[in-house]
């Protein structure tokens, strides 16, 4: 977590906070957080189901600073329930830090997080039973086999042993891990690790699932498997929040996106709204983070006469 924060671009000057907020300008997060929230709430969800439900996640005034580096600079956000929510942003934007704070793995300096109406820090019991997490950059208990890891996680969550084993069998089957279930997780490939992590996060049938870069380093076959499981899961009314910097993936998967850059939220809302007039989310994203400057002339020798 800390490492991503260390790469945050905004922390260079002595007083970066004002800079970033100034850059954010008229878009969502800064000017009038409450107004933006209310705005987001009233938008009809494309899925139809989520319009009347309270938000799955409500974040207000979230701050995190690592030494000089401001990793998250005052985020206000409401993530609609029952939808596929994508948190996109370049590396070092603060996505992992934000997700860690939302899931209770990192204590924020300031701000509040509510999941399904329960405060993450004041009511951890209610929150932890309702969420599933797949963090990025943290280990699993790798010296357990895939099946043992699921058995361990499920029982630790207080589920009945037989129920855990039958759920584990099904998850291992659906995620194509049945053949490797007795292999130690330390010997798994990246894709297999993500899948067993996902299985562990789903085992207790959470209301909200948080996935940090679930498709990073995953082969296309495993990615499709993960995608299938997630789609089936959201169809039941559950919420999936995941971070990524692969725009095509987010565009094809998400109903609702939040764009994060330089420790703040630059835009959020239903996919079509965030994309606006831009042809693809990728273009809209580059516009938002201000990275689409022309630089062709710098390399004009490249491909020229040899």
């Amino acid at each position: 977590m800390a490492s991503e924060a260390a790469h945050t671009s905004s922390g260079a000057a002595k007083q970066p906070l004002t800079d970033t907020t100034a850059v954010t300008g008229g878009t969502a997060a800064t000017g009038a957080p409450t107004g933006a929230e209310a705005d987001g709430r009233q938008r009809p969800a494309p899925g139809g189901a989520g319009a009347e439900r309270p938000p799955a996640v409500r974040v207000s005034g979230l701050w995190k600073r690592f030494g000089e580096q401001v990793a998250v600079a005052g985020i206000d956000l409401e993530l609609p329930a029952g939808q596929f929510v994508g948190l996109v942003g370049p590396n070092g934007a603060g996505k992992t830090t934000t997700l860690s704070m939302i899931t209770g793995l990192l204590r924020p300096d300031l701000g509040q997080v509510e999941i399904a109406g329960h405060d993450v820090w004041r009511d951890p019991v209610a929150v932890k039973a309702r969420i599933g997490v797949l963090p990025e950059g943290l280990r699993l208990f790798e010296r357990l086999s895939g099946r043992e890891l699921l058995a361990y996680t499920g029982r630790l969550r207080g589920l009945d042993g037989d129920e855990v084993d039958s759920r584990a069998t099904q998850l291992l089957g659906v995620l194509d891990l049945a053949g490797a279930q007795h292999k130690l997780v330390v010997d798994y490939s990246t894709g297999m690790r993500k899948k067993i992590g996902l299985a562990a996060a789903l085992l207790h049938n959470p209301e909200v699932l948080f996935l940090d870069e679930p498709f990073e380093g995953v082969d296309p076959v495993s990615a499709q498997t993960i995608r299938g499981v997630l789609e089936r899961y959201t169809a039941s009314g559950a919420t999936v929040v995941f971070s990524s910097h692969v725009m095509e993936l987010v565009e094809s998967l998400c109903d609702w996106v939040a764009v994060m850059a330089g420790a703040t939220i630059r835009a959020h809302g239903p996919l079509a709204e965030v994309r606006g007039a831009a042809p693809t989310l990728q273009d809209a994203f580059l516009e938002l983070v201000g990275a689409n400057r022309q630089q062709g002339h710098d390399l004009d020798w490249l491909g020229g006469a040899r």
């Binding site: 899931t103 209770g104 793995l105 997490v133 950059g137 280990r139 699993l140 010296r143 029982r155 007795h182």
Partner: protein, 591 residues
């Protein structure tokens, strides 16, 4: 050798390896290493066939050129040891100086032994031990010599026999070989008497060096699959333990030998070793001085034959290695499938969180190399100490308390042992009650092992010393100590967690957290000792006041005290753990 870290292959200077021609300009070249002709020769020899223009596959690099390339490569690697962060450079220089000093001392000591009655036995044994060291070295320090990994050279157009000559030469350069040379020279000086013997001595030194180096290369090449796999890295993590045990063995050995006439004890071993290469070559020097030329010839012949055999086997495995697919493309053999989870003894563990945590803790004690090393050390030393003390004469049943103390120490930094996987635990802890069950499960897993083990050690010590009267009080004290350490360990785990580096066999604390670790362990032990004071005081008082008949009471009192204090410790640690989950996770994720 200088940096036996398993992570070594990922050092930045590593890419230089497969491309010697690129490595050349990267390193500053003092006058000694390269001849002016070297860079073009090396460049043509290695790059030519790959570039393909005009070079219609002339003979791939000749032996002489290749030997030069590899020697220069090894020298660059050694020099690059100086081009690191200042801390590592200091460590590098210090290790070089230490090894050098040690080698000089050995050399002087061996020369001083010249003419000693048992000199031959000593040098023969020494050479044998040295060869053994070379043979096992690559297994425990796979990252020690980067040129050992021949798979990095696969892409180069090299023939095995040229490669062998070049690799052998590069192996002869370095601190380890220098140390070996000092030892070998000292050994032959100690036993060479006469001109003929001196001539044979030169041959013997050369043979010893070659056999040692080729042996290391052969072992490394034959096991490269193992060494680059996860199991190999696990093995390397246990090397710290190996060194500790080895140092104890050496310590006991030298103690035995420094007794009067102790060197004579080596004679039986030497009688065997003088026919085992490379010790045979060293003994041949003695044989020549002794006039038994037949024996000497046989010993030298044997060594040469062994060298040839080793090189042949090495070349064979090298060819196989370089022409067969890399281990990463081979499917790992399917482990034997096991039935469902509730099999075997695990069935008897309590249900719910307690049993789940215990099972995971016990599995980790066996499967995780770092945790395993900790447990093995505690169990091994706890058993060894009483035995060694008894063997040395001044033993007491009380030395069995060490077993309880060392096992109790395993309770410290529980969450650091999880490393960043602690998030999985943190996600399931919502209340102090959850944290209590988690800590209690871990403590119970320890007790499950410690209780029978400590009892057995105390029984063993009492039996060895024939002091059964002391049994109840020692066991009672041991239990009280175990309880105090479990209690303080649980508190320290919650209050002062720190990361344990997962990739090094030696480091148990990451830079920057040493203070935390000291507070955790030393402070914990001090408090633990204080907590033991009531039971200890009672024992002492019963002794002093001559109530020997009541000493058996220490056993039930100690057990009850241990139970109570562990309970209190866990109760106090639980809310602190539940409150500090993110802080604990941050502290243990740095490794």
């Amino acid at each position: 050798m200088s940096h036996p870290s398993p992570e070594q292959p990922r050092q930045p200077r590593d890419p230089a390896l497969p491309r010697p021609s690129v490595a050349q300009p990267a390193a500053p070249q003092p006058a000694a290493a390269p001849r002016p002709s070297f860079p073009p020769a090396g460049g043509e020899g290695t790059r030519g066939p790959l570039a393909g223009s005009g070079f219609a596959a002339p003979a791939p690099a000749s032996v002489a050129v290749l030997v030069q390339v590899f020697a220069a490569l090894k020298l660059s690697l050694l020099r690059n040891g100086l081009r690191q962060s200042s801390g590592r450079r200091a460590a590098y220089i210090a290790s070089v100086v230490l090894v050098g000093l040690f080698a000089v001392l050995q050399l002087l000591g061996l020369i001083a032994l010249r003419g000693h009655e048992h000199a031959a036995a000593l040098v023969v044994t020494l050479t044998g031990v040295l060869a053994l060291g070379w043979a096992v070295m690559p297994l425990f320090f796979p990252g020690g010599d980067e040129t050992l990994d021949a798979t990095r050279l696969v892409m180069l157009p090299l023939r095995p026999h040229t490669l062998i000559a070049a690799l052998l030469t590069s192996s002869l350069i370095g601190i380890g070989p220098l140390f070996t040379l000092a030892l070998a020279v000292g050994s032959v000086v100690a036993v060479a008497h006469g001109a003929a013997a001196a001539a044979v001595a030169v041959l013997a030194v050369a043979l010893t060096m070659l056999v040692c180096v080729a042996l290391a290369r052969m072992v490394a090449t034959a096991n490269i699959r193992l060494l680059t796999s996860r199991k190999g890295r696990d093995l390397a993590l246990l090397s710290g333990l190996f060194i500790a045990v080895g140092a104890q063995a050496v310590n006991l050995g030298t103690q035995k030998l420094s007794d009067a006439g102790g060197l004579g004890a080596l004679e039986p071993a030497a009688d065997v070793l003088r026919w085992v290469p490379p010790a045979a070559a060293v003994d041949a020097v003695w044989s020549v001085g002794d006039g038994s030329y037949g024996t000497a010839a046989a010993q030298l012949g044997l060594t040469v034959a062994a060298l040839a055999g080793i090189v042949w086997f090495w070349q064979r495995s090298l060819s196989t290695l370089m022409t067969s697919p890399d281990s990463s493309t081979i499917q790992v053999a399917q482990e034997r499938t096991r039935p469902t989870d509730a099999r075997g003894p695990a069935r008897w563990l309590p249900a719910g969180r307690t049993g789940t945590v215990m099972l995971r803790t016990l599995r980790y004690a066996w499967r995780d190399p770092k945790t395993k090393a900790g447990w093995a050390t505690a169990l091994g030393i706890g058993l060894l100490l009483p035995v060694v003390m008894v063997a040395q004469g001044g033993g007491s049943v009380y030395s069995a308390c060490w077993a309880a103390g060392l096992l109790g120490m395993q309770m410290y930094n529980q969450f650091g042992q999880d490393s960043s996987a602690f998030w999985m635990v943190a996600q399931t802890i919502g209340t102090p009650r959850d944290a209590y069950l988690e800590l209690r499960g871990r403590a119970l897993a320890l007790v499950l092992v410690a209780l029978p083990y400590v009892t057995l050690v105390v029984i063993g010590a009492a039996a060895l010393l024939g002091d059964w009267a002391a049994f109840p009080e020692v066991l009672g004290l041991s239990l009280a100590m175990l309880g105090a350490l479990l209690a303080t360990g649980a508190l320290a785990s919650a209050r002062y967690p720190y990361s344990i580096p997962q990739d090094s066999g030696y480091k148990n604390v990451v830079p920057g957290q040493a203070g935390l670790a000291w507070i955790s362990i030393l402070g914990g032990m001090l408090v633990g000792a204080l907590l033991c004071a009531p039971v200890l005081g009672l024992t002492i008082w019963l002794h002093v006041a001559d109530h020997h008949g009541l000493l058996w009471l220490i056993l039930p009192i100690g057990a009850a005290y241990a139970y109570a204090i562990t309970h209190i410790g866990l109760r106090l640690a639980a809310p602190r753990t539940a409150d500090r989950l993110p802080e604990i996770l941050a502290a243990v994720s740095k490794g």
